[in-house]
């Protein structure tokens, strides 16, 4: 690919340019900074040329190939957005099921193309809304979902066979997915036609997001069982969304985000193969890997973010093919959702956030995302208003319909700079993955507190740079205005708790107590055994009208609860 005589000529020309053109300019106009750094800390050259790739012996077919082909650097599909746009999928849900149903209808009306459910903290932690610990948190950061009745209300008038639904649910993923299946099947929609995603990524909860219930081992068993069960029963369902977003939010650098995510992916694949042996299926990765999906963050540092997505895609393809022996191309594809980085939002001058999220959304699209959530400008202050969410959807629509960036596949592919950055991030991320593998994989690393400490360190270093002004943030440490933000804010209806609890009480009264008891006993026995897949038992309990909290209590009794070692 690189003709030696041409490379020589280019070297000469570049040296001439630096001496004759750049040096005189620098004398008159020195550059603004001594060093230009990316967020990862790479020191950037003034200019990137073919030489930067030639000196790495960069090979087009090996590094990029073609979209839809191994190693998928240029995208997982051959025609990308020329064929099908990414899914406009705003993460949403608050209050009770009726508030959320109303918001979903609104979002679909203004052009959202997929749903993404946010659940409140009690739901994520397996507590019914009348539990003492749940008291203050019902309906606050998402919809309260204690039983199948609430799921039915959320999806009133929404075509579950046509729309795909993503659910941010982890420690209680089986209970929530079961509710979704029960409601769909009651409408005559069989589970095998349902499309969507459960996050089901408990490892990242232990590392960064902190919504875990049980100790790491049974927690990963639970996640693994869901992956195995869904691979058989729900061929259109993504059984996990292996998430880097929360690492970035907690402070991870781009290379840490890639590495921790892929190391989690490796751990899950190993667990599925291992549990597959005792459950008799699956026997190889091609039987489940096509339904593994991913989730990353998009920050404002545009090119490094694009490089991050491209590097992650190439690395996962290698991991699946070389390490796990995948044969199907689909098993090697890193398909991902993106959310713009919440931590980059400022409470100061909140409308400026719209500009940040536009650049971040552009990074996700140039990086080849399959679906996208754009944060709303008011989210450093509260949950978003309808007006603010509408603008988030409009950001996506302007990029899709007006910008033209979607008209060709991977438009930044071949940029000397972006390809160099992609390689550099890949190298950094492999180093971190090797360290994790060296201690025996991610679960062991988590138990030792290592990724948690690494992220906390990165977060603190970043904050100190903000303090010193080395990282400028408009409205926070430069162009500061004293004015208080004056924007409308969403308030969750304080009556939510009573409404949800009164429906739940009625739901509990109208059950067949015997059938319920039997179903919960079976969950307990299945949890006590190591070699049984839990999912059918939990689905049966939810069908027998168990509440989320009841199922979770049984599992708490069998497995115990986890208190994390706190590292600062």
């Amino acid at each position: 690919m690189w003709d030696p005589s041409y490379i020589e000529k280019l070297k000469q020309k570049l040296a001439e340019w630096e001496k004759e053109v750049v040096e005189p300019i620098l004398k008159k106009l020195p550059e603004r900074k001594r060093e230009f750094l990316t967020e990862q800390g790479f020191s950037l050259k003034r200019l990137y040329t073919p030489l930067d790739l030639a000196e790495r012996n960069w090979d087009y077919l090996e590094k990029l190939s073609f979209p839809g082909e191994y190693p998928f650097t240029r995208g997982v599909y051959p025609t990308m957005y020329r064929g099908r746009p990414w899914t406009i999928r705003q993460y949403s849900g608050f209050g009770s099921a009726d508030d959320t149903n109303k918001r979903y209808h609104y979002l679909l009306k203004i052009g959202q193309t997929g749903l993404s459910m946010a659940f409140d903290l009690p739901t994520q932690l397996g507590l019914d809304p009348d539990h003492p610990l749940a008291y203050y948190e019902v309906g606050k950061v998402g919809v309260s979902m204690p039983c199948v009745k609430e799921m039915e209300i959320v999806f009133e008038g929404i075509p579950m066979d046509k729309i795909t639904t993503s659910m941010t649910i982890n420690a209680t993923a089986m209970e929530i997915l079961s509710m979704y299946i029960v409601v769909a099947e009651s409408k005559g929609i069989p589970r095998h036609v349902l499309g969507g995603t459960v996050q089901n990524d408990i490892l990242k909860e232990f590392i960064a997001r902190n919504n875990y219930i049980y100790p790491p081992n049974p927690s990963v068993r639970y996640a693994t069982d869901l992956i195995i069960w869904a691979a058989k029963e729900m061929p259109k369902w993504n059984s996990i969304s292996i998430s880097g977003y929360h690492f970035e939010e907690a402070g991870a650098t781009p290379a840490q985000e890639i590495a921790f995510t892929l190391a989690d992916g490796i751990e899950y694949v190993r667990w599925v193969l291992e549990r597959g042996k005792s459950q008799g299926w699956p026997e190889n990765v091609d039987q489940f890997a096509p339904r593994l999906s991913f989730f990353f963050s998009a920050r404002t540092n545009l090119f490094e973010q694009v490089a991050k997505f491209r590097a992650a895609r190439r690395m996962w393809a290698k991991i699946m093919k070389e390490r796990f022996g995948a044969k199907k191309p689909r098993s090697m594809m890193l398909r991902f959702h993106t959310q713009t980085a919440g931590v980059t939002l400022t409470a100061q001058q909140p409308l400026v956030n719209l500009i940040r999220t536009t650049i971040q959304a552009l990074a996700a699209v140039l990086g080849g995302t399959q679906s996208l959530h754009v944060n709303s400008y008011d989210e450093a202050l509260s949950l978003p208003t309808e007006e603010a969410v509408k603008l988030s959807i409009r950001v996506q629509q302007v990029i899709l319909y007006e910008s033209g960036v979607v008209d060709t596949v991977d438009p930044l592919g071949g940029s000397y700079y972006v390809e160099w950055l992609t390689d550099m991030l890949e190298e950094e991320a492999w180093k971190i993955i090797d360290q994790i593998e060296h201690v025996g994989g991610m679960l062991k690393a988590i138990e030792a507190g290592w990724p948690q400490a690494e992220i906390a360190r990165s977060a603190y270093e970043y904050q100190l740079k903000v303090e010193k002004g080395e990282i400028p943030i408009i409205g926070v440490n430069i162009f500061v205005e004293e004015e208080e933000p004056r924007i409308q804010m969403l308030k969750v209806d304080p009556k939510v708790r009573e409404r949800v609890i009164s429906r739940l009480k009625k739901f509990r009264e109208e059950r067949d107590r015997e059938a319920l008891k039997r179903a919960l006993d079976e969950v307990r026995r299945a949890a006590e055994k190591e070699d049984v897949n839990l999912m059918p038992y939990i689905l049966n309990a939810i069908k027998s009208r168990a509440t989320l909290g009841e199922v979770s209590s049984v599992l708490r009794e069998v497995w115990g609860e986890w208190r994390a070692p706190e590292v600062i």
């Binding site: 009690p122 948190e137 950061v141 100061q348 202050l381 977060a459 603190y460 904050q463 994390a564 706190e566």
Partner: protein, 144 residues
């Protein structure tokens, strides 16, 4: 952060930092805990999923000079009011500082409940450290 180590009588000022409620967003709380430590405070970091009851119990056991709680789930009014109620009942008269996603319209309400200061997103660390120092100085009636 600060060159000289603050002193309170014959010991360092001691603070408790906790995530109150079920919310798991602990980036801010950890950074504040670490910054206070680097500024010479003794820091008890309780971590996530703390109840008002446990915060008060630990504050008494550890005999701290101030409490900092972080809440990003929108439940700050209810959680802080419960915490203040317990603090009063047990006679713990030490400053309480609240951080997290707090709409500006709620700041006054929190202060009227007896919160010393509210540190929303973007508050500089040096300002946060000053707030803790000032709060403890006022409480103890001596310079640290």
């Amino acid at each position: 952060m600060s060159a000289s180590t603050p002193r309170l009588g014959d010991r360092k000022p001691k603070v408790l930092v906790a995530k109150l409620g079920l919310d798991g967003h602990d980036r801010g709380a950890k950074i504040v805990a670490r910054a206070l430590k680097d500024a010479g405070f003794d820091v008890v970091y309780l971590g996530v999923h703390q109840t008002p009851e446990n915060v008060v119990k630990t504050a008494i056991e550890e005999d701290v000079d101030a409490i900092g709680v972080s809440i990003l789930s929108g439940s700050h009014i209810e959680l802080v009011s419960e915490l203040r109620k317990l603090m009063k009942e047990r006679g713990i008269d030490i400053p309480l500082i609240v951080g997290g996603i707090i709409p500006p319209s709620d700041t006054q309400l929190l202060k009227s409940m007896g919160v010393f200061e509210v540190c929303g997103p973007g508050t500089p660390l040096r300002k946060i450290i000053e707030i803790y120092k000032k709060a403890i100085e006022i409480r103890r009636g001596e310079k640290i």
